[in-house]
């Protein structure tokens, strides 16, 4: 343990510099990951029929046009654009965070995941 502790302490000065560079991406990836419950891992939502209808297509954020994302989110935030639930999130985020998310999601690669298949519940399952 001594070795590790000493090592970390001696690294602090340069680690701080690294942190300045990496703080923003680290913050943004966790914030963006919070959107996954509806928008999928890295903005790759599972959508029925490949996003055939508009609502489903809107869930796909990976590779979205940055300006398109920004415009929509800012309109949700101002109330200019009607929403079912997105206005709640847009209003809770600040403009800087919305810009960060726009950059983050526009940089992701779309990959069309399929829904996870369910299983028959095992006899031995607890509860």
């Amino acid at each position: 343990m001594m070795g590790l502790a000493t090592l970390l302490i001696t690294s602090v000065a340069s680690a701080t510099e690294v942190f300045v560079l990496s703080a923003s991406p680290s913050h943004m990836r966790a914030l963006a990951a919070s959107c996954a419950a509806c928008h999928g891992t890295l903005g790759n939502a599972v959508v029925p029929n490949g996003g055939g209808n508009g609502v489903d297509k809107a869930k796909l954020l990976a590779g979205i046009d940055k300006t398109d994302f920004l415009t929509k989110m800012l309109a949700f935030k101002s109330g200019e654009r009607e929403a079912t639930v997105m206005h709640r999130h847009a209003r809770g985020l600040n403009t800087q965070e919305i810009e960060g998310l726009a950059t983050y999601f526009s940089a992701q690669t779309p990959r069309q995941p399929s829904a996870l298949p369910s299983q028959v519940l095992n006899k031995n399952h607890a509860n």
């Binding site: 914030l31 079912t84 709640r88 028959v120």
Partner: protein, 425 residues
């Protein structure tokens, strides 16, 4: 499988050197072939599975992750009330862990954790032990049977299920509802808050009411709420019961269950005695068993206090706690559990790389409740770390639906598909 401390220190040193030289964590992670540390995760629910995946993803495989989970399968609590309503089967909500393991190189042990030695950094299971550099404990909830000892046994729960951990008890309760004669009385309680899923009991009322309205219209539901009022989406639930289920729901606030007679299915509260044809008792709750065993809770306090930047326990170093066990003052929801898991994974990756964790985590919670088989309503909020108070607090703009709708029902179904896929693939 034992971690070699000397190797770990040596590799961390090499890794840090490279990482700092290249000023980038990804370069650092890629340059370090052998693991920079081992994280053991206890529990494979929403929080545990998520932290395992994101630790692997964000460390680019540089952190070794081992999950210990007692069950072979994941069964979703969200949507499990629909099994009671009849529009879902438990088999729609049951998933395997294979994709998660394979996609992210997560090691998996199906076993029960019996002890945690935080000094030796060691987890003991029924069939072996594991050492860790950091431990993540995500055990969900445990029930408090002090006041309801008659329900502590498997036999008691066979008669009177809680069905508050999705699985066979959910199936049992559904079967009891199916067997109940028209004109029967379904009695359920709401435990004193905080408990898992604040709107869950009230959604359950809607689902049972929906089934009874369609199939046993002369039947009734009596709801015994230990709280002074409906504690989530109150206006919406009150309206739904009055408009969609008139004459079916008899809601009684301030009615904590004090005793249960298992044989006659009779419930006693401070003011009342109620007999049921089908009885569903959800006991009061506390942090999961392993959190108690590992001394992650203070004496006489049921939940685990953590640092909200890292989810590290305030009581035990290098042990992080996630999900429903956390004393967060926030809703104990599945989405919240995954958010905590992601903040924690992010922090552990940073810490193991010698970097500071994100100083202002922000996340969102969206929670849907189904009021019929198709129609749902939300509560949604953004939460941001408050540097002065050192807790996550609700940002402006959050709130609930104006009214339930089929459109939100579709959103809710999509939420489920996406959170399952995010957590388990």
């Amino acid at each position: 499988m034992q971690t070699n401390r000397r190797d770990f220190i040596k590799l961390t040193g090499v890794g840090l050197g490279l990482g700092l030289a290249n000023a980038s964590l990804s370069a650092f992670a890629r340059a370090t072939k052998p693991p920079i540390g081992r994280v053991v995760v206890v529990g494979g629910g929403y929080a545990g599975a998520t932290v395992a995946k994101y630790l692997r993803m964000w460390s680019l495989g540089a952190i070794e992750v081992i999950v210990v989970e007692v069950n072979k399968q994941f069964v979703s609590c969200p949507l499990s009330n629909l099994v009671l309503g009849g529009s879902k089967s438990i088999n729609d909500l049951t998933f395997g862990y294979d994709a998660l393991k394979a996609n992210h190189g997560i090691q998996w042990v199906q076993d029960t954790v019996t002890a945690i030695d935080s000094t030796a950094k060691k987890v003991t299971m029924l069939r072996g032990e594991l050492s860790y550099d950091r431990l993540v404990v995500a055990p969900g909830i445990d029930f408090i049977y002090n006041d309801l000892p008659m329900l502590a046994s498997a036999e008691g729960q066979q008669q009177i299920p809680h069905a508050w951990k999705a699985g066979w008890q959910t199936v049992n309760l559904r079967k009891q509802l199916e067997a109940m004669p028209d004109g029967g009385v379904f009695v359920m309680n709401v435990p004193k808050a905080p408990y898992r899923c604040p709107p869950g009991p009230y959604e359950r009322v809607c689902q049972v009411a929906s089934y009874l309205k369609a199939h046993k219209p002369r039947s009734k539901i009596i709801v015994l709420d230990a709280n002074a009022e409906i504690i989530s989406k109150k206006g919406l639930f009150t309206k739904v019961w009055a408009t969609l289920y008139p004459g079916i729901v008899d809601y009684r606030p301030d009615s904590a269950v004090t005793s249960v007679d298992v044989a006659t299915k009779t419930v006693t509260t401070d003011f009342d005695k109620v007999s049921a044809d089908v009885l569903n008792i959800i006991p009061p709750q506390r942090a999961g068993k392993i959190a108690q065993i590992a001394n992650l809770t203070e004496k006489d306090y049921p939940w685990c206090e953590v640092d909200f930047l890292t989810y590290e326990s305030k009581l035990v170093q290098n042990v992080h706690v996630l999900g429903d066990s956390v004393a967060a003052g926030l809703p104990k929801s599945a989405h919240m559990a995954t958010n905590q898991a992601k903040v924690c994974a992010n922090a552990i990756v940073q810490l193991m790389a010698g970097l500071a964790p994100d100083s202002v985590p922000v996340f969102a919670n969206t929670c849907y409740s189904f009021v019929t088989d198709k129609s749902a309503m939300h509560v949604a909020n953004v939460y941001r770390y408050d540097e002065a108070k050192k807790i996550m607090i609700s940002a402006e703009g959050g709130g609930v639906s104006l009214a339930p709708s089929d459109k939100e029902g579709e959103y809710a179904a999509s939420w489920a598909q996406n959170i399952w896929t995010d957590v388990l693939t």
